[in-house]
Symmetry: C2
Subunit: 417 residues, 2 copies
């Protein structure tokens, strides 16, 4: 029989009370000390990371994600210092009301309790998530990938040393066994875990969504469109489209499909060819845009197939869809969007407002690059992911959302008539 | 092959745009007209309801829930007028920030989109949910019970007539076939349905939780405790405990277990026997309280078994647990609470604050009856249910939570460097 992780989850839940009862200032100090402690433990962490790296074949594409080095540890320290400086999301009075004379009602924000995160090879997630949870008064249970086990253990060892200095039990940050057999226990541990966040591949996220009883936040893929209307300023449009595609194509807020109005394509496409070709962007063009790009001699041109729409490329690749007016553009986006980030480029305010209102996505843009959808860019600090669902958190899921609400009623013998 | 409901869900999603684009005032007018139209259609609705009642055996305990009469329809009209008068939860600017010169970020509240509700025999849910959704700019898809099909159709017919007067497509409020075969389609319709709320029996809620891919809000059972400490004013305590148990025992915020300190039981229990006996409350007493209640000659006394703790009675029944101090009380509540509503009766402020902070429940009380946990009592208006989970909505899930957030970015050619 596989040993159960339930006792560990129980202990994490119990331990979380102690971090919840630390003052805001003490929690800030704790994260600051943790950032210094991680930097001071660089050698031990890199040694552990080397063990993990040695066990992974050089050809594994996950190797870069697994890798830690001096620069990445310094980045981690910096990320933690930023988290320390963010305001405490707990303890805010959202509403206060006198229900009867002497019967006071408050709705306040409180820590979620225990946050569960299931992730893959990136060991920096361990430190980031632990810091976000501790800063907001939460405990966490972390299920990292087997391939990063030594790195994660080294990081959690440092976290536990810092917790001890603040009199917080080590179980507040619990690293779970990497054994797959325990995943199902974690997904169904509704008594002990308050929220589950899967971070990583689409298949991991889908697996969690299908099997979890604990409420989850879905941080899904980004299939992002930029729609250039008939009234767009094509110079602005070209700059925005190129930026959204090439500035960092491996991330979820990068452009996947350019939707361009038939009335604008002749003007816009020639402005795109040079900068797109410079980055070797492969363009999957629909039947209307292909001939134009072909005549322009675009070097990396393909005919788009059905699968090139609604596809998250995460690479120097994009598709082009030509539409006749806004209705067709909105319908295309509704069909293929993953509801992450969507943009319109237009000089017509009515068009802009219709797009902002009707397009169903976490972030909607007028005349700007979708690349801004990011906790840091939005001023929220480090994020756990970008939520593409609508409950609790939408868009960058950052420190501010690691709380729930609690209704507090104070009376003096009040009863209901 | 069973016909699919997907085309209906698609149409509901499309239709919801039109109610979203009605002004706040028009949506208020719509709900007011609906309240009058439902009252004016009393005869037709009661006729349809009679068909449903005739088909249900008299012995079925659901019969009272299915029943409509003039009084209940008047109550429905009143509930709708209250919903009309509540403030629009959509369109609030939650945050505004200048990301760069000329690049404006707003976080605003917007309607969820399409709300799915799965419920059982109560036809009033049809009108209440439709009104809450329309008021907040949402569409809804309603899967009511087979036993209420004629009543629901009659109510939805009235809703559709009112929608037509406002130029809103009928599909905005879609009554789905009652056929069980369609439930799985609804539970997995993530492209069309934004949130699912199961209302009804524990087994229905569990089924939805286990099988839904669409995000759900769990509105679960209420296993509610009132803890009377050693420092309590026993007169207040007796009034609160009796009120929490007998004022309306069939609801989720009624008392299930009295947790009483050993130091207080000798004083408190004699104050409870007369009022509890008057309502015929059956008491399941633990080993320490049983002998006292026995000596007091309490007429409806049982020895508590393990199953009488953590049990939602929904009846004139409760259990009694004697503890030695707060730690034991908190541990008992942590073990058996369904995290709905929990109360402490004490004159010691430090005890009260510790209880409010450490007890993990949607609503926590000091010196008041748990019966106040209710959308109406809290000033939120009609509720869809009481959420016992922590994401998005906790406690009364009312109009104010039928929204999500959207990040809106307005620039003028801004790109990310």
């Amino acid at each position: 029989m596989t040993p159960t992780i339930v006792p560990q989850l129980q202990q994490a839940r119990k331990a979380a009370i102690s971090v919840r009862s630390l003052s805001d200032e003490r929690r800030r100090d704790l994260i600051e000390l943790l950032s210094r402690a991680l930097e001071a433990s660089e050698e031990a962490i890199l040694q552990a990371n080397q063990q993990d790296l040695d066990a992974m074949p050089d050809t594994d594409p996950k190797k870069d994600r697994l890798l830690l080095n001096a620069e990445r540890i310094a980045g981690l320290g910096e990320s933690l210092r930023q988290i320390a400086g963010l305001p405490d999301p707990a303890g805010t009075v959202l509403l206060e009301r006198e229900l009867q004379a002497g019967l006071n009602l408050q709705k306040i924000t409180v820590p979620l309790g225990v946050v569960g995160v299931i992730y893959e090879s990136r060991p920096n997630v361990t430190a980031d998530v632990a810091a976000l949870c501790l800063r907001s008064g939460n405990g966490c249970v972390l299920k990292g990938g087997k391939e990063a086990v030594h790195s994660n253990r080294a990081i959690v060892k440092v976290i536990h040393e810092v917790l001890a200095e603040f009199g917080v039990p080590a179980e507040t940050v619990t690293l779970l066994p990497t054994d797959r057999a325990h995943v199902q226990e974690l997904l169904t541990a509704t008594r002990y875990v308050d929220i589950l966040i899967p971070r990583g591949s689409e298949s991991l996220i889908q697996y969690v969504r299908r099997n979890a009883l604990v409420p989850t936040i879905e941080t899904g893929a980004g299939v992002c469109h930029t729609y250039v209307t008939a009234s767009a300023d094509v110079q602005k449009a070209a700059a925005i489209v190129v930026n959204a595609k090439v500035q960092r194509p491996s991330v979820c807020n990068a452009l996947d499909t350019l939707v361009v109005d038939r009335a604008t394509m002749d003007e816009l496409l020639p402005l795109l060819t040079a900068p797109m070709a410079e980055h070797g962007v492969e363009i999957f063009a629909d039947a209307l845009s292909y001939p134009i790009l072909h005549v322009l001699g675009y070097p990396h041109l393909q005919e788009a197939s059905q699968e090139d729409f609604g596809r998250e490329f995460l690479d120097f690749k994009c598709s082009v869809k030509v539409v006749s007016g806004m209705d067709e553009a909105l319908e295309h986006i509704e069909t293929y969007s993953s509801r992450h980030s969507e943009a319109i480029v237009t000089e017509d305010e009515a068009e802009a407002e219709r797009f902002l209102s009707e397009v169903d996505a976490a972030a909607v843009y007028v005349n700007a690059s979708t690349r801004f959808t990011d906790g840091g860019e939005f001023g929220l600090g480090a994020e756990i992911g970008i939520s593409t669902q609508k409950l609790h958190a939408r868009g960058p899921f950052a420190l501010e959302k690691l709380v729930t609400e609690k209704w507090v009623v104070r009376g003096n013998g009040h009863i209901r008539r």
